[in-house]
Symmetry: C2
Subunit: 190 residues, 2 copies
């Protein structure tokens, strides 16, 4: 998606050869116009799929998921929670996820009330790197015996293993911008 690549080129901060910070439009400040264009593009890429629910993970996936849902007949969004919250039901699907960014394991949880076996779930997230969060979400959908329609990602680090891990689960991945490498502070798109 050219608009997103252009924005990454203009605004991303690159740290070393692996870290791309997009806090100015996606992960801290959010450009809602850009999210709308991304939502339209996800709809185009999954046009032939029936979707009954969009699943994401807190926090930075939520905005993108909500805006995207508008292009899928306003299907509900469910966001997996990362921390144990007092007032979340015990009746939950869980998965363990290792975060490289934070160098720790955490549990992600979705209440059993919000995914059922009839659901056709599109997973949306802002970043794909090692794929641990996405695979955790796929796990949760499958615990519910629901169908994973696909995974839609804003920015994929193509030089890491995320795509392979998702495809090993027989799930289609659509990324709007794939970073092939970071070469002397310059982003090379796939």
């Amino acid at each position: 998606m050219e608009m997103l690549k252009k924005r990454i080129n203009e605004s991303a901060k690159i740290i070393g050869s692996e870290i791309v910070k997009v806090d100015s439009f996606l992960n801290h400040q959010i450009d809602v116009n850009l999210l709308n264009e991304m939502g339209k593009e996800f709809k185009a890429r999954f046009a032939n799929k029936e979707v009954t629910k969009i699943l994401t993970i807190e926090a930075s996936g939520i905005g993108l998921a909500c805006i995207t849902a508008q292009y899928f007949k306003n299907v509900p969004v469910v966001f997996a929670k990362k921390l144990e919250a007092k007032n979340l039901s015990n009746d939950v699907y869980e998965s363990q996820v290792y975060s490289f960014t934070k160098d720790k394991n955490y549990t992600i949880r979705v209440s059993k009330e919000y995914i059922d076996s009839q659901d056709k779930v599109l997973i949306i997230d802002d970043f794909l790197a090692m794929g641990n969060a996405a695979v955790g979400l796929i796990n949760i959908v499958r615990q519910a015996q629901a169908q994973v329609v696909g995974v839609g990602i804003a920015i994929e680090k193509g030089f890491q293993k995320g795509r392979t891990k998702i495809e090993e689960n027989d799930v289609k991945v659509e990324s709007l911008a794939i970073i092939k490498s970071i070469d002397n502070g310059q982003i090379v798109f796939a």
Copy 2:
């Protein structure tokens, strides 16, 4: 806002005399249609105000803030972060917030890059109870010497001190549903 009150009556889970869980449409699963109606209503209530940025706090405020931003000429959304994240700049505005739900203090942070003294900031959040998160966000906007246009809340617990605390800061509060009391498992709206 009648549509929201109706939904609370139909779907909220009431625990004791103080806890209202709206996980089925706002805090875990998100009804994007309802968010759109809420966004329109915030626009109506702050119609005469110039807004250059919407500020919220992760996680469950983000969806509402993004959808609402569409009714304010797609102004950017900024969400305050609750935890220390490795790749957030050190150059941040901070405020300490006590959470009754989790019974602990946490720090909220916004990068100095995303609010400046020219900004007119509308604060949006899903819940108002004791007002600590909202006051923390007001603090952050004022550290940036920006203007707080107002605070827009989906559901206010009118029997707690949140509104008073915000108004003590000379900030206008608009809540779409105000719960006056919870009486024998029944919600009484103001």
